[in-house]
Subunit: 336 residues, 2 copies
DNA sequence: GTGAAAGCGCTAACAG
DNA sequence: CTGTTAGCGCTTTCAC
């Protein structure tokens, strides 16, 4: 049978209360009994049950993570960085793939609640804030990462998508491009629309006109962006550069270009977003806007952890700056 | 305050035992009280506490997953497929990144134990079987995925690495290659050494000699394999084809070839292993040996779940067949 | 069919 | 300093 606090107490010749106290390092215990208890725990290989301690009013030391899809490299990297920090702080991470489905999100949240997780990190694309309001009402601590939700005061850490979009377009403009298109997934997602806003501002700032027909929306996968890029490239007046709102979409652009025998960056310049491993792997290596994933993961966990422990303070927005990572997919425009 | 089983009982005018019975669908309850209880649970939005029910003797409906690194696409895809199936069966998944460190593995296992997970899935590269023997002794159900451990009877699902290695080499040979090298990560890992064994057998079967100097070992990352491939390509007698023991390593080979202005597959044929998303993304698309990740994930979860519920039966090894996925990175050897 | 009561392993007053 | 005791929310005999 599993060894319990009673076994330790008996073996050490003390009460369970005493054992509990040495475990939790509270109250005043004589050095003597403390070492005695420790040695007994050691020899019996005792591990306190988190379940029991949670039921008795302590935490479960578990956080939930809602994300669209682990198989998506960006979110895998986010999850990795979150798990790292969570583990450092003594929390386990339960992972939930929502595929951005509202029902799944709700279902998982309800599940996490039943399991009494201490807090939830949300990286999934909740469209409305109802679900978050409910969470607030339930007093279940939560924080968002890489997803904005401006209509409600929440803890959130994300990159400045507007700035990132601006930087991407500005870099292209700086290289001499004037015909710049953009490809995004679902523009109802805040981060996409912000990146596009930034892109647009850079254009207008440079005296270029924003052309809606150069804004393509597609599914969040390679074939989707390949098709979208194809439509752009087959236009009467095709762009000389494409800003893909994330690295995965940039790969679709690469494929569309390849199908048309357009070289990158010779005929077509491409810039991505996220700086996932994809960016360094494709040929030519992708110039992209980097998100500080490590830092973001660390910060959400820290914030959530503080909330859990009641040191929350006011809700905060941590907006990190993206960075331009120059590789080889952007050059001066083709001047054929 | 949170609504408990007592609230339901009071509101429905029955005892908590009765409520418990309708929740768990055991015992004989009149249709009348059943519906009454249900409606009260509904209206009070009652969610039974998994913690309490676990402490009282039920499961936690949680599985642990030990893997080296979520940010590694292969494992991310594995994790995704496992989470999918686990969720279907009502289990949550807590993820643990071990970086293949023995101490981390042990630490995480001990943690999972404290949290009373119902079972553990291990995808991390445990080198010795001690840790697994301990697990067995503790009667904590577990299963391995994508990692072999031949010295102990365990539940395990993996791909036939030997066959996969054979298929890779055989495909190259079939195309006319005779100078075939191989790059692997840590050969102490079973799957690597098996793939190499299969490769070797294919060579010898074809009357080709196995040359140890054409077997390169490197760290499990792109720069590592780039260097390894470089060494191969700079050999006096360089190979005309390289079998990279996984897709990530294949990318390093691509880079080494590019640095030397060798075209793929013109000058050098390359074949990978795993068929992760990388394979379809690189240029040219990578011919590779596919692991049925979905199927594997589904099967470990099913097996583990049966064990948890006591329908375990004998330990089993599920060896799935890999498949050759032909893309564009292999051709007939260059006949300059 | 239904309920009373013991207990799962631990925490947290409170008493001594 | 240490022990007693009452729960935490739920499951499970065992009576009725």
């Amino acid at each position: 049978m599993k060894v319990t606090i009673y076994d330790i107490a008996k073996e050490a010749g003390v009460s369970i209360a005493t054992v509990s106290k040495v475990i939790n390092q509270i109250g005043r215990i004589s050095e003597e009994t403390r070492t005695k208890v420790y040695s007994v725990m050691e020899s019996l290989n005792y591990k306190p049950s988190v379940i029991a301690s949670a039921l008795a009013g302590k935490q479960t030391f578990t956080m939930g993570l809602l994300l669209p899809d682990l198989a998506n490299l960006f979110f895998a990297e986010v999850a990795r960085s979150i798990e790292n920090r969570a583990h450092e702080l003594g929390f386990s991470l339960v992972i939930c793939n929502t595929d951005n489905h509202l029902e799944k999100e709700e279902h998982y949240i309800s599940l996490l609640e039943q399991k009494s997780v201490d807090g939830i990190i949300i990286a999934t694309g909740v469209r409305n804030d109802d679900i978050l309001k409910k969470l607030t009402k339930k007093k279940l601590p939560f924080a968002l990462i890489a997803r904005d939700m401006p209509t409600i005061a929440v803890d959130i850490v994300l990159v400045d998508d507007y700035l990132g979009g601006y930087m991407a377009a500005a870099h292209l403009i700086e290289q001499g491009h004037t015909k710049i298109a953009v490809i995004a997934e679902d523009t109802r997602v805040m981060s996409s629309s912000e990146r596009i806003r930034g892109y647009r501002y850079a254009l207008e700032e440079a005296g270029l006109t924003y052309r809606p027909d150069w804004v393509e929306v597609c599914d969040f996968n390679v074939p989707g962006s390949r098709d979208a890029a194809g439509r752009l490239l087959d236009l009467q007046e095709a762009p000389s550069a494409i800003f893909a709102c994330n690295d995965l979409l940039a790969i679709g652009v690469f494929q569309a270009a390849r199908e048309r025998n357009l070289s990158i960056p010779g005929h077509l310049s491409v810039i991505g977003f996220d700086n996932t491993m994809f960016a360094s792997i494709v040929d030519p290596p992708l110039t992209t806007i980097s998100q500080p994933i490590q830092d973001m993961g660390r910060q959400v966990v820290d914030i959530l952890s503080k909330n859990i422990n009641g040191f929350g303070g006011n809700k905060q927005r941590v907006v990190l700056s993206p960075e331009l990572v120059v590789r080889s997919s952007v050059s001066k425009p083709d001047t054929r």
